[in-house]
């Protein structure tokens, strides 16, 4: 399609080209935003947090990367390490920087790189400020688990608090706690507490009140009160000690914060901070594929519509298509594609496929998706999916044979007992369901994070803590890492800790690790 109209000057009028060429300025940016917002809101009906666009340099982008997009964070060497790693990769040309980073906050902050061309800025506004933003704003998991309006305040508090602790107790003392808490942060989230949403602002106030209360009510006399030495240890499930400790407990950081005997109040607070931030990030990996798929589909739609409306010229549209097809590449297995999917590729393919099923279904689609096939409401259908699912359930619900065929998926059964790998399902009628189940499983958070429970605490004798990792199909921990992490656990707990890896099916113990308060760790 050729655009035959004379090139109109750069203006903010409602029609005509938004810009020409690569250069942008703040006026163009604003016009582009308005044009994108118009389509996003009127045609797609997206609902978003208010947007804030921040223009940054590539150097600042590296900082943003380091902090997972968060505009502020406390100081710790692990961030420095991440920064150096990114910097090296970038300097050696091994990594291109993202065009944007967006964070789940209210207002929703999108970082745009200054090097982006005008087309790229438009595209990333559509992608981040509308696609991701809508997803953050509507998805059930984000709504339940994270409190977008308060995360920035909480980070500010965390940074200040940790800085204060460093001044009072020394960097080394704070680092001891942070190192250990970071190692355990994968096990520092409440996974199953339903729809209890984090109230970070109240959290912050509570922390302060708690400290004041402890200072005000401190009475050294309590230390001298004689304790009942006659208590008999009771190892049954009804052990009152066990109940008081809330065992079994899967949130290791929570348990340590509440029950570790030797920690100072500020140390508990630091653990709490790490735990809160881990909890905030907890939904993200479970929604990565949908989130990217949603944002990519939205920007693709909006760029197409802008082009159809004559707001961007052919060159810009081609640039946008080029960029989109770059991110949605899924290399074949023999071209370096690993066992995990490019979330952009799978997400975008599935979103496009759902829209297709809604508007022009085949007989197969009608058989597989009777509820949505041919309903002719692609946008509503997608929006419903974006709001109500997470990656795993979304795949189980919507991964269609058409997409499986397109990627030419096949399933491999890898059993270390067998000398070969077995192809046990391919993209045919017999294999679709198997493949779909496995793709979903590989996106299941239960498969991503190891689940560990504290099952026992021998409070009457040596305070030995028992952790259990229930696993299936012989999957075990990375032994060296497990040993070191357990040592961190023991450091915080202050006494011995043991970890059993147990097969969930027959209960056999596969491995045992043990760590003492400060000693070495051995594997049994």
């Amino acid at each position: 399609m050729m655009d035959l109209r004379p090139a109109s000057p750069v203006t903010g009028t409602c029609s005509g080209l938004l810009y020409q060429g690569n250069d942008w300025n703040f006026e163009i940016l604003r016009d582009c935003y308005d044009a994108v917002a118009d389509i996003a809101e009127r045609e797609l009906g997206l609902t978003t947090y208010p947007n804030r666009l921040e223009i940054i340099t590539s150097e600042q982008m590296l900082d943003v990367y380091t902090a997972h997009g968060m505009p502020l964070g406390y100081r710790h060497w692990s961030l420095g390490k991440r920064f150096i790693a990114h910097e090296n990769a970038y300097r050696r040309g091994m990594m291109g920087l993202a065009y944007e980073v967006v964070i789940n906050s209210d207002p929703c902050i999108s970082y745009l790189m200054e090097e982006n061309s005008a087309t790229m800025q438009t595209l990333v506004i559509a992608h981040a400020a509308f696609g991701h933003n809508h997803f953050f704003h509507n998805n059930r998991l984000f709504r339940e688990w994270t409190n977008a309006s308060e995360i920035l305040d909480y980070l500010e508090f965390a940074r200040g608090y940790i800085h204060q602790c460093e001044e009072r107790h020394g960097i080394a003392a704070v680092e001891r706690i942070l190192d250990a808490a970071h190692a355990l942060q994968g096990q520092g989230v409440h996974r199953h507490s339903g729809s209890r949403r984090l109230d970070l602002r109240a959290e912050q106030q509570r922390a302060q009140a708690r400290r004041l209360h402890e200072e005000a009510t401190f009475n050294d006399l309590w230390r001298t009160v004689p304790v009942d030495e006659e208590q008999q240890p009771d190892t049954t499930l009804n052990d009152p000690m066990r109940r008081r400790l809330g065992l079994p407990e899967e949130n290791l950081l929570y348990f340590l914060e509440k029950h570790a005997p030797l920690l100072a109040p500020w140390e508990r607070e630091v653990i709490r901070i790490v735990r809160m931030i881990a909890q905030y990030f907890y939904p993200q990996p479970q929604l990565k594929m949908m989130n990217e798929g949603c944002a990519t589909w939205v920007h693709d739609y909006i760029m197409r519509r802008l082009h159809e409306n004559g707001r961007i010229d052919d060159a810009s549209y081609l640039e946008a298509i080029h960029s989109t097809s770059n991110v949605i590449t899924q290399p074949d297995f023999d071209a370096g594609g690993g066992p995990s999917f490019n979330p952009y590729a799978l997400g975008f393919a599935m979103m496009g496929d759902i829209a297709r099923i809604c508007t022009s279904p085949t007989a197969e689609d009608r058989a597989w998706f009777p509820e949505i096939a041919g309903n002719d409401r692609p946008i509503e259908t997608l929006k419903h999916a974006w709001a109500e699912f997470r990656d795993e359930s979304f795949i189980l619900q919507y991964l269609s044979p058409a997409v499986m065929r397109r990627f030419r998926m096949f399933r491999i059964h890898d059993d270390t007992a067998a000398p070969y790998l077995l192809v046990d399902a391919i993209h045919d009628d017999a294999g679709y369901r198997d493949i779909r189940r496995t793709v979903a499983q590989n996106h299941d958070p239960a498969n991503m994070n190891a689940e560990i429970e504290i099952t026992g605490a021998n409070m009457h004798t040596d305070r030995m803590l028992t952790l259990e990792h229930r696993t299936t199909r012989g999957h075990q921990f990375h032994a060296d890492d497990a040993r070191r992490t357990l040592q961190y656990m023991a450091d915080l707990w202050g006494y011995g800790v043991q970890l059993l890896e147990r097969d969930a099916d027959d209960g056999t113990v596969l491995a045992t690790y043990e760590a003492t308060g400060r000693g070495g760790v051995r594997r049994g």
Binding site: Y33, T66, L184, R473, H475
Partner: protein, 436 residues
């Protein structure tokens, strides 16, 4: 929607975090830095250098599974030829399929890198490199020479420049004065005005109210008069921070670098000598701000040269060590009196000297130089042949002297890799903790 231009915001949010990484991996980084020096040339220290530390020093462990046993399923894309039931050769470990963890995304699995490489700036590099080295015996602290002065806080004064105004003190005095002189507060004034207005609006006015109105009006005039007379901030309130210029004592030191450039010094030996001095130069430049360095080179004749000539200009000739020592003693007497300077010297030579010159050289050394210097280091660079020849004349002579003069140190360097251990040996703060 807001657009915020953050480009001019301060960069380098992660400088502190980066510093902590280096601190954390300090031992590993230091080892790496010292290896880099041992293999490379010190001249390269002018640039940023990349060092590699084993990843272990910065490892962040976590509980995570790796697929090492048992069974799993995974999905691959791009099937071209496989049918259900095909059996595939297991790819070698680390290859596709077997290598990934099959769970999480690849970047999670990529944590287990073998080593961690990063670029240190020149500053950081030298800091780590020269950490724990000190110029020995900087004892004669010369306090009489005061080259620099620094402003120090010296109480308060009631005059000064506006930038030095101590606002909180000024306002404290202003409040005290306003209370003391009973300057009406603005809200009192407003209250009175409001009451007057209310009374004025009230009709009919009772006698009692009329009285009150009169009183209030009177009060208002008094208040207005007071307000006009008593200033909010009066010149008598003003307090300025006063600074006095205090002389800063400076410790001054001078380092003499003596080098043999005679014909017997091969290029390789000169190179070793230059390496040693370059190292010394970097070290001194960093440790001591007010440090003079005198470069003296000699063949049959000694001359004082500038840094560039010293390091880069070729020269040749016979050998007369005494000439250099004489020149050094001379320069020291003229320009660096013992009373006000700490004096250090380092001499590098291949150990050759005209036999007839030895007595004279030793005489100058023991008579004119050693009594005046804090430390004298003699480094002998020897070709491999020197082993056969045994001890050189100069070595023997200096070694004899060093047995009863503790601040004369003699060391030998044969290869480039020796330079750094010897250097550390000379300047370690704790000589017993050698790092050879």
């Amino acid at each position: 929607m807001d657009i915020i231009d953050r480009r001019s915001n301060p960069h380098g949010k992660n400088i502190e975090n980066r510093r902590r990484v280096i601190e954390r991996a300090r031992d590993a980084v230091q080892k790496s830095v010292r290896e880099a020096i041992a293999h490379g040339s010190i001249q390269e220290t002018g640039h940023d250098r990349s060092v590699t530390v084993p990843a272990d020093a910065l490892h962040e462990p976590s509980f995570h599974r790796v697929f090492s046993g048992g069974s799993r399923h995974f999905i691959l894309t791009g099937n071209k030829e496989f049918c259900r039931g095909d059996k595939l050769q297991r790819p070698p470990a680390g290859g596709q399929g077997g290598g990934g963890t099959g769970e999480g995304n690849p970047s999670d699995a990529g944590e287990g890198e073998d080593s961690f490489r990063f670029v240190l700036s020149r500053e950081e590099f030298l800091d780590l490199f020269l950490d724990d080295l000190e110029l020995p015996d900087l004892v004669k602290r010369e306090l009489s020479t005061t080259e620099t002065t620094a402003p120090m806080r010296a109480g308060l004064s009631n005059e000064g420049s506006p930038s030095q105004l101590d606002l909180s003190r000024t306002m404290r005095r202003s409040i005290a004065r306003r209370i003391g002189l009973r300057r009406p507060r603005p809200d009192e004034m407003v209250q009175v005005e409001q009451r007057i207005e209310a009374l004025e609006a009230q009709r009919p006015l009772s006698a009692h109210d009329l009285d009150e109105l009169h009183q209030l009006r009177e009060q208002r005039t008094t208040m207005q008069r007071r307000l006009a007379r008593i200033a909010w901030v009066d010149p008598v309130d003003l307090r300025y921070r006063r600074h006095a210029v205090v002389p800063q004592p400076v410790t001054r030191a001078v380092m003499f670098c003596l080098m043999d450039v005679s014909g017997s010094m091969t290029e390789r030996m000169k190179d070793l000598a230059k390496q040693f001095f370059a190292l010394l130069h970097v070290f001194l430049e960093r440790r001591y701000r007010t440090l003079d360095i005198v470069f003296v080179r000699h063949a049959e004749r000694a001359e004082e040269v500038d840094e560039n000539t010293f390091f880069h200009d070729p020269s040749t000739g016979g050998t007369l060590v005494s000439s250099a020592l004489e020149l050094m003693a001379d320069i020291q007497k003229k320009r660096y009196p013992v009373q006000s300077w700490n004096i250090y010297a380092a001499q590098v030579s291949d150990g050759d000297n005209l036999p007839s010159d030895m007595a004279r050289a030793c005489g100058i050394l023991t008579g004119d130089i050693l009594p005046n210097v804090q430390y004298f280091a003699y480094i002998e660079v020897s070709a491999s042949g020197a082993v056969i020849r045994g001890q050189t004349d100069l070595w023997r002579a200096y070694h004899d002297i060093s047995t009863h003069v503790p601040h004369l140190a003699v060391r030998r360097v044969t290869e480039r890799k020796d330079i750094f251990p010897v250097f550390r040996d000379l300047f370690s703060q704790q000589p017993e903790r050698e790092n050879a």
